[in-house]
Structures are given as C-alpha cells and as structure tokens.
Subunit: 313 residues, 2 copies
Amino acid sequence: MSLSLNQWTTRRWSVAEAVDGCVRHGLEAVGLWREKVAEQGLARSAALVREAGLRVSSLCRGGFLTAGGLPGEEGRLAFGRALDDNRRAVDEAAELGAACLVMVVGGLPGVRPGEPLPSRLSGDVAGAPERVAGFSKDVAGASEVAGFSKDVAGARERVAEALSVLAPYAGERGVRLALEPLHPVYCPDRAVLSTLGQALDLCLPYPEEQVGVVVDTFHVWWDPRLSEDVARAAGRIASYQVCDYLHPLPADVLLGRGMMGDGVIDFAPITRAVLAAGYTGDIEVEIFNADVWAADPDEVLATMKARYAELVV
Amino acid sequence: MSLSLNQWTTRRWSVAEAVDGCVRHGLEAVGLWREKVAEQGLARSAALVREAGLRVSSLCRGGFLTAGGLPGEEGRLAFGRALDDNRRAVDEAAELGAACLVMVVGGLPGVRPGEPLPSRLSGDVAGAPERVAGFSKDVAGASEVAGFSKDVAGARERVAEALSVLAPYAGERGVRLALEPLHPVYCPDRAVLSTLGQALDLCLPYPEEQVGVVVDTFHVWWDPRLSEDVARAAGRIASYQVCDYLHPLPADVLLGRGMMGDGVIDFAPITRAVLAAGYTGDIEVEIFNADVWAADPDEVLATMKARYAELVV
C-alpha cells in the first residue's frame, strides 16, 4: 500500500508529466484519466508507466450507463453507445494494467453532468419556458417528462442491467470494475449510485475480481452506515480515494474536493476501517479544486505527501 | 389527511396572515415556525389557529443538539443551553396543539448553520489564516481542531443523549418529537442525521407517540433504501413534507427547495409508500426559495394547491 497521485489532482499535467512528477516525488503509483491517456496515446501511456516502474492504481472512468432509461429508440441507442464506450474503457484499462476501472454510473436519464435540467416544456413550446412568480407556469404531471426522466429506481435498474453485460467482458480481460458511490448531491446528474451499501449490493452477483467498489472519503464520510458497510466490503474494495470535503461547497459542487485537512473529514477512522477490511491497494489522492489546479503541481505533490502522512495513515 | 401550508413557504406572512391565507384558500392545517410565533405572541398564535379551526401540522423547529461535542466547559454549557431551548420548544408545541415538534438535530459541533468553517488557526495566529497555493498552510492533525469538531460519530451520540432527556419531557406534555433526516449536503452544519433509516434507529428506545420521524421529499428522494425504510417507519411517521429538489442547487444550498414539478422528484411513489405505511396526518408544503418568497403569497398558495393535486396525491 502506498500513496498514489490521481492525475486529475494535477490537472494541467499530461500523462508524461504526471509520471515524471510521481517519480521525482518518490511515489510508486498513479491514477490515470482516459482523456489524458488519449491525448498522450494509449500505447505511449502504457510504456511510460511501465518504464517508470509505476503501478496504475486506477483508470478513470467508465460509467454513465443510465441514458437507456429514456423512452423508445432514443433510450435504446443511448444504452448501446454507453456499452460500447465502456467496452473501450475496459480495453484501455487492460492495456494500461490498471488495478481497476472506476465506474461513475450516471444520473437521471437525460440530465447531463454539470448542466441544468432540460426544459420540461421543450417538446411543447418554442423558446424558454415561461416562468411565473418563481415557479414554472406549466408542468408535466408524470415521472417521464420531456427531455429527462425522474425515475431514479428505473435508472438504478439500468445500471444493474449494464453490469450484467460489462462485468463478464471485463473479467475476460482481467479488468476489475470499481463501482463508485457518489455523494447524493450528484444523484441528479452524475451517479444514482449514492451509498457504499448500494454499491456492494450491485457487486454481489459477480466474482470479487470482476466487480468491486471505490471508497472515496469525499463521497461517503457522512454515511451513518459507513463503518458497517466498509466491514461488509471486505474483498470488494477495489480503490480507496481520499480528499477532503469543503464546507460550504463552491457554487460548482463538483469542485468541492479539497486538500486533506482543509475540510470536515476525519480520515484516520475511515483509513483504519478500510485497512481492517483487508484493503492492500494504493491510496489515491483525487482533488477537483480550481485553486489546487491553479497551483504549482510540484507544490501540490509535496503538500499532498505531507498531509497524507499527517492525516490519512 | 389534507394539504397544509408550512408558513416558511410564504415567509413574509405573519402567523395571522398565514392563518388567514389558509382559510381563504380552503386549507385545514398550517405548519408554524417558532420565530413567527414569537413575533405574533404564543398565546395569540394559539388563539388564531384555534378560532380559525385549523390544525397545526407541525411546529418548526427544535434541535441543534450537537454543540455538546465541543471540548470541556464550552461543550457542557452549550449542551445545557440546547436542552433548555428545546424544552421551551416543547412547551410552545404543547400550547399550540401542534401534531409534532420538528427536530433538526444540528451539524458538526462548532460549525454554525450557513457559515464557513471556523478558521482552524484561529487559536494560534492573529488574523486570517495564511493560505498557500490553494490550500491552508498549516493544519491541525487530529479530529478535534480549533473551533469545531470533525467527530461525526460523536456528534450523533450527542443527539441520542439529548433525546434521552427530551423525549420523556415531550411525552409528559403530549408533544411528539419528529426527527428530521436532512440531505447529506447539510451534514456539516445542520444535521448529522442524514437518512431515514438512521432516524428510525434513534426512535426505537421511545414510544411511538413520543418520538417519530419526518419524511421530507427534498431530503430523502435519492436514498436507495427509501422504500424499505418508509415501510419500516410504519407508526413512526410524524410528518410528511413535500417540495421539489432543484438541480443544480443554488449557491446557498438551503434555498434549493422548489415548487413541486420544478425539480427532479417523482412524488407519487413516495406518497404511496408513506400512505401504505399508515400515515394519516397532513401533508405540508415547505419551500425555502428566494423566488417563491418574492412571489405573491396568494399566487404561491394557488400554485401549491394545483401542483399538490396534480403531482403529490
């Protein structure tokens, strides 16, 4: 077990720069992102980490499997595209020798990550919906509304359905899918997978080496069932990611991840529970934060190492 | 069972105006707030609702019981003050004949609702903490830091401890405490009570008529255990509150509550589950939303009635 840099923490760095940074700072592992790998080239990225002697603690990310919940042909096509993209992600994880492929499963069908809800009147009227006195004037009455679906239970069924296709595919290629429960604030647009317990239940039909879970402190610190569910996750923890939970969250809640020590999380009890559950993988620091991204990446790595030693393990 | 106006939805209205509005719009119940009751006068407020023939579906709110988690004398005094304030809230609920006293239990000890974290360096250096490269320069290493506590499990124990004092006090006065789980985004500063399941577990030591739970659609819609926990809540649901969950949340997340139909929630399945669990009380609409507060309150009530009929029941 050792500290790993998730490369989104030093977002301005390419794969080559992140690999070089890890080596200079004495890290043994790196978590890669598909976008960065594509920019660097897949074969070149694989060669870089191999030549540097680094482990790839994770590849981020597959997922976004819920669009199939849209009605009719649109849903069917979206589901097929999502499966195709996830098969490619599995192939990339295999070539990189990644310890797991992180899966962010997707939000309500038709709600795009980081974007407002589609206008529920878009199918009925031209232009923006008329709003009166603080609320929209007209409203669709059912769970299926123009442009997106409110059926959160159905979206969760789509995830299970996609896993039944993707888990065997990953297993045949020696890749472990890592289901990541996200904080409930991301339920509308990024992940209807909201708790560790729910993620564990989704794993059960599959062998441990095919499907596991991510424990990310930012997403789970608040969960009253955390201790018992981490214990229940023995053998299923594919990735342990750390960063702090800032309070208040910034207006873009995606960027509420902070350097360890800058928020509300008490890391030591969570780390103890993860280790007690038998986790022996690397511990990734993954920070989405405009200030951290603007900082000197070498300063970020130095701070990350110090905080990790002081607060996390 | 009938529609009730939580008076914070028409925030500019006094108790007298809210009572008058309910009567004009044909509602049979109103949910009151302690601040508004204090402005109107407790005895006068009780007389107004009685003379109008309205039920008081809830009094908002007691709680904020976690400050006792601060160390030493400061914690002891804060816990005592919180108990005193909650006893007064129980007395007020009794005089108003409220169906329950809603309890928002409080966040991490020392974190004030809606305010940033206290500076963790405030005890060490004068002025604002020095920040370097996007993160604070120094950091306290333990779970207890200057000004607030990161011990979320401990804060939850303080809530249980307070209930052991307040539940019998309420029981003697015929008042039912209603524990409200809040969306996890409010865990740092408003409620370490984050799920319905956790609230139900806190109820167990007490008779149903002393301690129940609030099911508020905004706070629980995302919960993968919602169906089973609402079923488990049979006999314990003291209040059912509805409003929509806006997406994205506004910068002040407290104001992310919207008129039904303006957000992501599918109300019908939640209402069916609550009714199947035997709930026979009123259904309160409680909206914190700057635009709704700026609107004509009579327009708000008319819209609320229409949306309720179309979407909620």
